[in-house]
């Protein structure tokens, strides 16, 4: 048999450019390299010297699918640095924007990008012929998520209204009511997707790893809270560097998350494992439909976990809209003044934990930026998973091995554009 290599150049159905290189000798795996081939983007460097008011607008361009999460967490990091407080309406509008992003991003990944593998199709385009109803429902749900983002942020990709201290425009009570009704109607659509998913066969693969996510006592944490791990870590987000280290693979444009020499896992499955006691009624019922026991150590369950979280977000969006409808929604122009300071904020983007940490001078110009995206955090864990899965699939054809490795990497919902503008080296 001798030395063989399996090269998956440009992993398909993910955002950005990544490749996987696996080397085997006599059928045994000897080396795994995941390479991020996306051009280096240098955001942390060219953010230096920019004004605090435009930092979130620039930083959200790191990634389109997570643009709302980048925008909001970047805004919060700036506000922390400047000591700027916002009112409940602004908090609610930001939350609603993020709920829209969750619905759009999770449906896109689970149903457009991951589902085709489960039903033997190469893409959602070819799957549309066999499963027209599911594809139409997926389009409808995705549009609903986008419409929530448009209502709160002005646009579905790279929002225009979020500002430091607030928004440049607010939605009307009437528009919010319309969206709330659409969310109610779409529950049965999401249930159809959950029922379809429940009939699919999940690859059997278990490897317990170090799961990290935000955690708060009052709700299932998607925004706000502390940094937590399934193994019991709980710490203020400002301490992120103590728990999330990084290494620099010489074959990649991205750095890789690491803790005590091993990988960490962030994303829907990590959140579900860590916050499983705080699920909303619809999410609890979705979990039951899908029949997943928590905590789950099967990376492939990350896809189903996204659908469970979509149900969670339906409940959270309903509550947030109620809170907004009970307020006057009287728009006022946010007015802020710059000051020197440091601010760190962490959020859960749909695909995992996301940190933005900044320092500003007294004129509000950015001095340093440190941004760690979910795919950076998951990077080492992906390679470890490939090593663990390989013996299980090694007996198959080269084609089937490649497909399973593609599926494994895809299950992380990797965002390769995000990962390759890595944090500052210390």
């Amino acid at each position: 048999m001798g030395t063989e290599s399996i090269d998956i150049k440009h992993i398909a159905r993910v955002e950005g450019h990544g490749s996987l290189y696996v080397t085997t000798k006599d059928g045994e795996l000897v080396d795994v390299k995941m390479a991020v081939d996306e051009g280096a983007r240098l955001f942390e460097a060219f953010l230096q010297g920019r004004e605090y008011t435009e930092v979130p607008e620039i930083a959200c361009r790191i990634c389109a699918i997570c643009s709302a999460s980048h925008r909001v967490v970047s805004t919060k990091a700036v506000e922390k640095a400047m000591g700027i407080e916002v009112d409940q309406q602004v908090t609610d509008l930001r939350r609603l924007l993020i709920w829209g992003e969750y619905i759009e991003s999770h449906i896109l990944h689970a149903l457009y990008l991951a589902l085709p593998d489960y039903v033997g199709h190469e893409s959602v385009i070819s799957a549309a012929a066999d499963f027209p109803d599911v594809v139409k429902i997926a389009l409808k749900l995705k549009k609903l998520g986008n419409d929530l983002q448009i209502l709160t942020g002005g646009r579905e990709v790279h929002q225009v209204t979020p500002m430091i201290g607030g928004f440049s425009a607010y939605p009307s009570h009437q528009d919010l009511e319309v969206l709330r009704e659409r969310l109610q109607d779409a529950r049965s659509d999401l249930q159809v997707c959950l029922d379809v998913w429940a009939g699919l066969e999940e690859p059997q693969f278990e490897r317990e790893t170090d799961y990290f996510a935000l955690r708060r006592d009052d709700e299932y944490a998607l925004v706000g809270g502390d940094l937590a791990s399934l193994s019991g870590v709980r710490a203020p987000v400002e301490d992120y560097k103590k728990y999330i280290g990084e290494r620099i693979p010489e074959y990649s444009f991205a750095k890789a998350g690491i803790r005590d020499g091993h990988g960490i896992f962030v994303g829907a499955l990590a959140r579900l494992n860590i916050n499983r006691d705080l699920l909303s009624p619809f999410a609890k019922s979705a979990l039951k439909t899908l029949g997943i026991d928590l905590p789950s150590y099967n990376t492939f369950h990350n896809n189903a976990a996204q659908l469970i979280e979509t149900a969670q977000v339906f409940d959270m969006a309903d509550a947030t809209i109620s809170s907004l409808l009970s307020s006057d929604l009287e728009w006022h122009e946010p007015e802020t003044t710059p000051k020197a300071g440091k601010g760190t904020a962490m959020t859960e983007a749909p695909r995992g934990s996301l940190v933005h940490s900044y320092e500003f001078n007294k004129n509000g110009l950015l001095k340093t930026a440190d941004i760690i995206a979910p795919t950076t955090m998951n990077y080492t864990n992906m390679e470890e998973d490939v090593r663990a899965l390989f013996p299980q699939i090694a007996g198959g054809s080269k084609e089937s091995i490649e497909l399973m490795l593609n599926r494994l990497i895809r299950a992380y919902d990797p965002c390769i554009s995000c990962s390759c503008h890595v944090a500052k080296v210390r």
């Binding site: 398909a12 051009g39 280096a40 361009r61 549309a128 225009v160 425009a169 620099i248 500052k424």
Partner: protein
């Protein structure tokens, strides 16, 4: 043409945020109609099986930001009948082109530290800097409506419509309150229309992401911005923020800040 008589289409991403490709997926109301009109044979972001070309139409997102992408974009050009650059990165270099105005080796060191020999980063340029581009859909991200319009036009063999006036014109037609009059640094008067003045309609200034409007009076915009308090550096930054390729234009070089 593909086997089924429909034009074959390739969708490609160079360096960028994938937002313009995402905006194609975001055309939820018409995505299935688009798939009925054209045969998407290559789209790595959405498909596992991808053809090596040729394509009747190629849509290219992202900027050319590393050496290997120069060859890649040339290959796509060779194998495509029509090449359409989508989004500010592909049409004007885009916001990540902010790095062009700083020292790349210094920035690479800031981000990646001393061990950065494997980092291949070149000054960011739009697709048209390396190959002929037939049509451009500007904006960060590109407008979904403009994408739909160009697909329909190309399938029907007619020339796609593109607005020959500024965002300011659209904004006035919508009867929005002028943000320049409120003392905000808006780029509407000099920016290519086609977004229906989305940002000013939402109370946010136009950042110029769609690039310069034909025959816009840049000197007048510079004068207005300075009058309401912008420094020469503020003005320069505004013009180049999303469109670093503007720095190469003679009209820009002649401007007095």
């Amino acid at each position: 043409m593909g086997d089924n008589g429909k034009p074959s289409v390739g969708i490609f991403g160079l360096t960028g945020c994938a937002g313009c490709q995402l905006n194609i997926l975001n055309i939820e109301d018409h995505l299935l109609d688009i798939l009925n009109l054209v045969d998407i044979t290559t789209w790595v972001m959405a498909k596992q099986e991808n053809s090596e070309g040729p394509w009747d139409v190629a849509f290219v997102e992202g900027s050319v930001a590393k050496k290997s992408e120069i060859e890649r974009v040339k290959k796509i050009r060779e194998k495509s009948g029509v090449l359409v650059a989508i989004g500010a990165c592909a049409t004007h270099g885009g916001l990540p082109g902010l790095r062009n105005f700083r020292d790349i080796s210094e920035m690479t060191q800031i981000v990646y530290g001393e061990n950065n020999d494997h980092i291949d980063a070149i000054p960011i340029k739009p697709v048209s800097a390396y190959v002929d581009v037939d049509y451009e859909l500007p904006g960060c991200p590109m407008e979904k409506t403009e994408f739909l319009e160009i697909v329909k036009s190309l399938v029907m063999g007619k020339r796609p419509y593109s607005a020959q006036y500024s965002v300011c014109g659209e904004c006035k037609a919508l009867e929005n309150i002028c943000l320049l009059k409120e003392g905000k640094f808006c780029m509407g008067p000099v920016t290519q229309a086609g977004c229906n003045a989305l940002c000013p309609s939402n109370g946010a200034v136009c950042e110029g992401c769609r690039g310069p409007a034909p025959e816009a009076n840049w000197a007048a915009e510079v004068k207005i911005l300075k009058k309401i308090g912008a420094t020469p550096e503020d003005v320069r930054r505004k013009f180049l923020k999303y469109c670093p390729s503007v720095a190469e234009m003679p009209e820009f070089k002649e401007l007095e800040f």
